[in-house]
């Protein structure tokens, strides 16, 4: 971390600060200044930090991305937006890091449920936010989190009260339209006791370099059921950081499906803390080609007994692309009867592609069932032969198996419209020729 770069972002801060929301909230101003101090001291994470050892973000320091002006919604190509928008869903649009009421579609939302821009929510429900903000992730986690707390310009606030359910999915559509833009959003999702929701985070951007840096804190109440999807299809010149930090109360169910297809350099954090008998599912698929670098970092902490976690991440890497998977499962001393399984599978389609994978189990309890497995390699020859013995020629068999390898993760999507959207994105980006939708 060069002192020069730190000062470049930090030096800009005074100019930016007056535009940030919550200036009238002393507690928030205090947190922002603490986060700023943390960031000034440490900067963005460096490969010297264990959790960042395969990912070098120094390009972000050099580029000095700046908050973009928010264009009038009339200037936005709505057709382009619609290609990524779910229609049978409520949707929120965050345009260059700012909530756009005009582009969002929230008609018919149940009255008890709040979906607001974060700035608006800070004005309307500051006490509630004060209670939750920074509870699922500390600014000391790493430089991006501290940066986000100091810099966030807006975001989404979602509150589903106890025993309420969202009958349709809610989509949070993050859009960046300007070159060299910095879009820093902070999002808060609260599903209270026995509430139920499906939420889809989608990241898209114009064909240029920009930095999208989002932190989402998620609270899943006792017995609540939340599924969070992330579709990251940023521009292939873009830099992306997106963290989802989840606190699960007892008996809560949380599932996360992470589709990381876009960006020149993209990093996701998905961290979940599990209370008594809660259930956590983390699925992921990363597809990289050209010089893409896609890093996924997961952490599941079993704090209490009887919780279950299942994790499966798959990667398909072509050209000179690099995929990183770091998965940590921590079982606390108190977390007896934990049942946990973590798997990471990678297919390399070219000799220059690279997969770095590091599963870590840290177990402090003595009566648990924990497993993990990792593969990096080529297709299973038994499967190739099986298809050949069923008349399929070898090349098609290989294409089919590669595609099927990836498609297994797409198949897990329960929202039909989202399934088709992700499948479309996958087909578009799929490195191998001759892939057919009919195989499914």
């Amino acid at each position: 971390m060069s002192a020069l770069t730190q000062s470049r972002y930090s030096a800009e801060y005074d100019a930016i600060a007056p535009q940030l929301p919550g200036r009238d909230l002393p507690w928030l101003m205090k947190r922002r200044s603490e986060a700023l101090a943390l960031f000034a001291a440490g900067g963005f994470p460096s490969p010297r930090e264990e959790e960042w050892r395969y990912t070098n973000v120094s390009a972000i320091e050099k580029k000095l991305f700046k908050p973009a002006l928010v264009p009038a919604s009339g200037q936005i190509d709505k057709q382009w937006l619609d290609t990524c928008r779910l229609h049978d869903a409520w949707s929120v649009v965050l345009l260059n890091g700012r909530f756009s009421a005009e582009l969002s579609k929230l008609d018919g939302l149940p009255e008890a449920v709040s979906v607001l821009g974060f700035a608006e929510a800070l004005a309307k429900q500051p006490e509630l936010i004060e209670n939750y903000l920074g509870k699922a992730v500390k600014d000391s986690e790493h430089g991006f989190v501290a940066f986000n707390t100091a810099w966030f310009s807006d975001g989404v606030f979602v509150h589903v009260p106890a025993k309420h359910l969202l009958a349709k999915p809610l989509q949070l559509l993050h859009v960046v339209t300007e070159a060299d833009a910095l879009a820093t959003t902070r999002n808060l999702i609260i599903t209270e006791t026995m509430a139920q929701a499906e939420i889809v985070e989608t990241f898209i951007g114009a064909d240029c370099a920009y930095l999208s840096a989002a932190v989402t804190e998620v609270f899943v109440g006792a017995n609540a059921d939340l599924t969070l999807y992330k579709l990251q299809v940023e521009s292939e010149k873009a830099y992306h950081f997106g963290g989802a930090y989840v606190l699960q109360d007892r008996d809560a169910r949380f599932a996360h499906h992470n589709f990381a297809f876009g960006g020149l350099l993209a990093r996701s954090d998905i961290h979940a803390d599990l209370d008594h008998a809660s259930e956590c599912i983390l699925n992921g698929l990363y597809i990289g080609s050209k010089r893409q670098h896609i890093d996924n970092h997961t952490r599941i902490v079993h704090q209490k007994p009887y919780a279950t976690s299942r994790e499966l991440y798959k990667g398909v890497l072509d050209d000179r692309a690099r995929g990183v998977f770091q998965g940590r499962v921590i079982v606390a001393e108190d977390a007896q009867k934990t049942d946990s399984e973590m798997n990471n599978r990678n297919l390399l389609l070219s000799t220059d592609a690279e997969a770095d994978t590091k599963p870590q189990l840290e177990i402090y309890a003595d009566d648990v069932k924990c497993g993990h497995g990792v593969t990096v390699g080529q297709l299973d020859e038994k499967s190739v032969f099986y298809l050949q013995s069923r008349c399929v020629d070898e090349e098609t068999a290989r294409n089919m198996l590669t595609f099927a390898f990836a498609n297994e993760m797409v198949d897990k999507i329960k929202i039909r419209e989202l399934h088709d959207l992700v499948l479309g994105e996958l087909l578009q980006r799929f490195p191998q020729q001759g892939v057919e939708k009919a195989w499914l």
Partner: protein, 247 residues
């Protein structure tokens, strides 16, 4: 239909088959029995074209063609079918798609047009009923999460759709309970015809109670050490393989 002459096969430097001679005519059912390690599975793999085996001597002629020279998919399109001992799970590829792809590949190979979608569905549904399978299996990924019995039934379903001329059943009875075995056997029996031959590779006699073979061969140490009628299988059941292996 199939003529195997003095077939020698090695895996790496290790000879497994040491001079197999076998003549199979259309309409016949041959059972190949033998102890573990005798080369039974190697024989079925070599016939279907699995890689990793070297033919060091001899020949295999199928309907006048040199079978060893043919790619596995060409053999399959020409009517050689292997029902696997351990059918492979293929997550992400639907069962019905694979059935359709296989059938169309065979039709294309023989200069016919692709099957009509409605005709295909009717055909598949009839076969599914025959094998007492749930139609839902068609829309699931190939063999994924199927029980042992369901996987074997799925193999027979593929066979019923592909209508091969030479069917090789590799330890089809392994892992089947008696009810599943009956269903699979009924499926096989329904496919018996004067134009079709079967090679059943099996360790135990019990499959032969349900599918009556014309000829039984005993394979030991890479050679056929004895051939006979169905009564040979009963003798093996009683005496085991020891008396033949020693011979």
């Amino acid at each position: 239909m199939l003529s195997i002459e003095n077939l020698h096969v090695s895996v790496g430097d290790k000879p497994i088959l040491k001079g197999i001679n076998l003549e199979i005519k259309a309409g016949e059912i041959h059972a190949i029995m033998g102890p573990n390690g005798s080369g039974k599975s190697t024989l079925s793999h070599v016939l279907s074209g699995k890689s990793g085996y070297t033919v060091t001597e001899g020949s295999v002629t199928y309907q006048g063609m040199d079978l060893i020279e043919m790619a596995p998919e060409i053999r399959a399109r020409e009517g050689v079918f292997l029902a696997f001992q351990y059918p492979v799970e293929i997550p992400g590829v639907s069962n019905i798609y694979l059935l359709k792809a296989a059938l169309n590949a065979i039709r294309k190979h023989h200069g016919q047009s692709e099957v009509d979608a409605m005709d295909f569905l009717t055909l598949v549904k009839n076969k599914v009923k025959l094998l007492e399978m749930d139609e839902k299996f068609l829309y699931r990924a190939v063999n994924e999460g199927f029980s042992g019995g369901e996987k074997k039934r799925n193999e027979i379903l593929q066979m019923a759709i592909m209508e091969p001329k030479l069917c090789i059943l590799d330890e089809t009875d392994s892992g089947l309970d008696i009810d599943a075995l009956k269903i699979v056997a009924d499926g096989v029996n329904s496919l018996r015809s004067p134009e079709r031959a079967f090679v059943m590779v099996t360790h135990y006699q019990r499959l032969l109670d349900y599918i009556k073979p014309d000829v039984v061969h005993v394979l030991a140490h890479g050679r056929i050490v004895k051939s006979g009628g169905p009564e040979l299988a009963l003798e093996l059941e009683e005496k085991g393989y020891g008396w033949l292996e020693a011979a």
